[in-house]
């Protein structure tokens, strides 16, 4: 039997604190399907956290045989990318792992890069599928998923991160709990130099772009910072958040925190109203998960129309105020 597949499992934050986060559970589902292709290789997990033992045991339902837990406060007290990467690399060596897989999150990508660099192994980021063999064949995302790359990964330890939301969580009730093993890695002081030293809570009151059910989007066609008042009026009537394309933030019309796209936020609202947005792929990758898209654009041939479910052909400066007025009229 082959050595184990080792998965980095992140713990959630806020309401999800103390349990594995969703992208990590997706990564375990992917690892379980890979294990079947490796003749039933075990799936083992690394968790870092002073209270991670409960979360580790619960991973049995996600196919994990052993959850290795680092609880040492020097490492587990605050996120430290180099130390976590070193721990992952050391554990992979100790267990004879054939692959190390992390969630394609900020932390997952960072820790896997540290581990791969230490092991002198290649790393494939944002993988969608993999076929084991002498060298592994992988399909991974480029351009934030607008383009796919078929590639080979040739190393004794294959390092990859899993593209978020590419596979479903595979939880099987009635599975035995995972064995929980304490792991005490040898961490050099230099690897603890960089660690989280402070937190700032999210600003209260505003509607979060990533949680909003309705997003009113503005692009180049809005034309100026001042003209966003028309979109704000509609957003307020709908209880919507404002999202914008990259040209809007590059022009300084709106803050970067409102950017939707490859270099901004990924959103998945019930309705996205795209006003004066042509639909460059940079923007599309951020909004294509919306359930419905209504495009308001003067150009019936713009790329956004290929993605839109509904469209109004016209100048947003006439259409948007007219829609706001109609909503008010019907509300009486």
């Amino acid at each position: 039997m082959s050595g184990p597949i080792l998965v980095l499992v992140e713990l959630g934050s806020g309401d999800g604190a103390g349990t594995a986060d969703r992208v990590s559970l997706e990564t375990l589902a992917f690892a379980r399907s890979l294990a079947d292709g490796l003749g039933g290789a075990p799936v083992e997990a690394l968790l870092v956290g002073s209270d991670a033992s409960g979360a580790a045991a619960a991973l049995g339902a996600h196919g994990v045989t052993t959850g290795h837990v680092v609880t040492d406060a020097a490492i587990a007290g605050a996120y430290a990318p180099a130390a976590w990467g070193a721990a992952l690399a050391e554990l992979a060596g100790a267990r004879g792992a054939v692959a190390i897989i992390g969630p394609g999150t900020d932390r997952g990508a960072e820790v896997l890069a540290h581990a791969a660099a230490r092991l002198g192994a290649p790393l494939a980021a944002n993988v969608l599928s993999a076929t084991p063999g002498d060298s592994w064949s992988v399909t991974r995302q480029r351009w934030a998923g607008s383009l796919l790359e078929d590639a080979t990964l040739d190393a004794s330890v294959r390092c990859l991160t899993m593209a978020p939301h590419a596979v479903a969580v595979d939880e099987r009730a009635g599975s035995p709990a995972a064995a929980v093993a304490s792991f005490a890695p040898a961490i050099a002081p230099a690897d603890l130099l960089v660690r989280v030293t402070g937190h700032e809570p999210p600003s209260k009151g505003s509607i979060s772009l990533t949680d909003a059910k309705v997003v009113v989007g503005g692009g180049r066609g809005v034309g100026s910072a001042a003209a966003f008042s028309e979109l704000e009026e509609l957003a307020e009537l709908l209880g919507a958040a404002i999202g914008v394309s990259r040209v809007v933030t590059s022009n300084g019309w709106r803050p970067h925190t409102q950017q939707v796209g490859q270099t901004g936020q990924r959103i998945a609202p019930d309705l996205y109203i795209a006003c004066g947005i042509s639909g460059a792929i940079q923007h599309i990758v951020g909004c294509k998960s919306a359930k419905r898209i209504l495009a308001i654009n003067t150009d019936a041939e713009s790329p956004i129309m290929a993605l839109a479910d509904y469209a109004v052909i016209g100048d947003l400066h006439q259409v948007v105020p007219a829609v706001s007025a109609e909503i008010r009229r019907r509300a009486g």
Partner: protein, 267 residues
């Protein structure tokens, strides 16, 4: 203060990606090129730091001879000089890229003194490997953190902030010399001025040829390389059938009918 910023030349893709017939690259016949977006903010940050503190900023790229265009763009914004690691234009994997950049940083520092800060983009827009800056930091034994949208330089240290997974921000302290991976939103890059563009034409680009023509990255790095690309493909996207609700302001009642139908506006 000495700051190095590493950038990558990438195509401006616009509305849709078209691949070459052999599936090995994006067809760039009709496309312009740009500095990868996160790195544009890295260039701006390097210029601001040197404006405030004095010293020297340097921009570095690995790529074809044509990547000089992006080095000139960076110098037009105020970067002092440039280093071009010139390849034959073939694609370089992250392991080999990082190995060559680490060697170049060692050589540049031996000649001109240490860099207090080396700035990378969090990930390149095109290949999205999420690793070159970290590999360079591990090779050089320097502290590194990725994903930054805020940087404050102190004396001998850097305070950095990035968005936390559950909302809000987390902060890091790094001793210098350090390496950082930055994201767009770190700052709002300036537009180049005409005098800036003229000055950039006269600034120095140091050219270093990497590898013999056609030798490729594997001959350079010595380390296991990869992932090795075999083919690019466009994902299958279901094209939606768009329903035109109307034209101009007269479409407003049809739009509100839809908003009521899907429950966004109360009936």
């Amino acid at each position: 203060m000495r700051v190095l910023v590493c950038v990558k030349r990438v195509p401006q893709t616009g509305g849709r990606i078209v691949l070459t017939a052999d599936g090995q690259a994006i067809d760039t016949k009709f496309l312009g090129f740009t500095i990868s977006p996160h790195e544009e903010c890295g260039v701006e940050e390097a210029v601001r730091i040197i404006e405030a503190q004095g010293g020297e900023s340097v921009v570095l790229t690995l790529g074809a001879a044509a990547a000089e265009e992006q080095l000139r763009d960076a110098m037009a914004l105020g970067v002092d000089r440039a280093v071009l690691l010139e390849t034959d234009g073939s694609e370089w994997d992250p392991v080999s890229t990082a190995a060559v950049i680490a060697d170049t940083i060692r050589a540049q520092e031996a000649a001109g003194g240490p860099f207090d800060l080396v700035i990378f983009g969090n990930e390149s827009a095109d290949s999205g490997g999420f690793q070159v800056g970290i590999r360079v930091a591990v090779a050089l034994g320097r502290p590194v953190v990725n994903g930054l949208k805020g940087l404050t330089l102190g004396s001998g240290s850097i305070t950095a902030r990035r968005e936390a997974a559950g909302g809000g921000w987390e902060t890091y302290e790094l001793p210098t010399p350090a390496i950082v991976g930055v994201k767009e939103g770190l700052n709002l890059p300036r537009y180049p001025s005409v005098p800036g563009r003229l000055r950039a034409k006269k600034k120095e680009v140091e050219r270093i040829t990497i590898g013999a023509s056609g030798s490729g990255p594997a001959a350079v790095s010595g380390a296991p390389t990869g992932p090795m690309k075999s083919m690019l493909r466009l994902p299958q996207e279901a094209e939606s059938q768009v329903e035109i609700l109307g034209r101009g302001a007269e479409a407003a009642p049809a739009v509100v009918d839809l908003l009521q139908k899907i429950g966004v506006v109360a009936r």
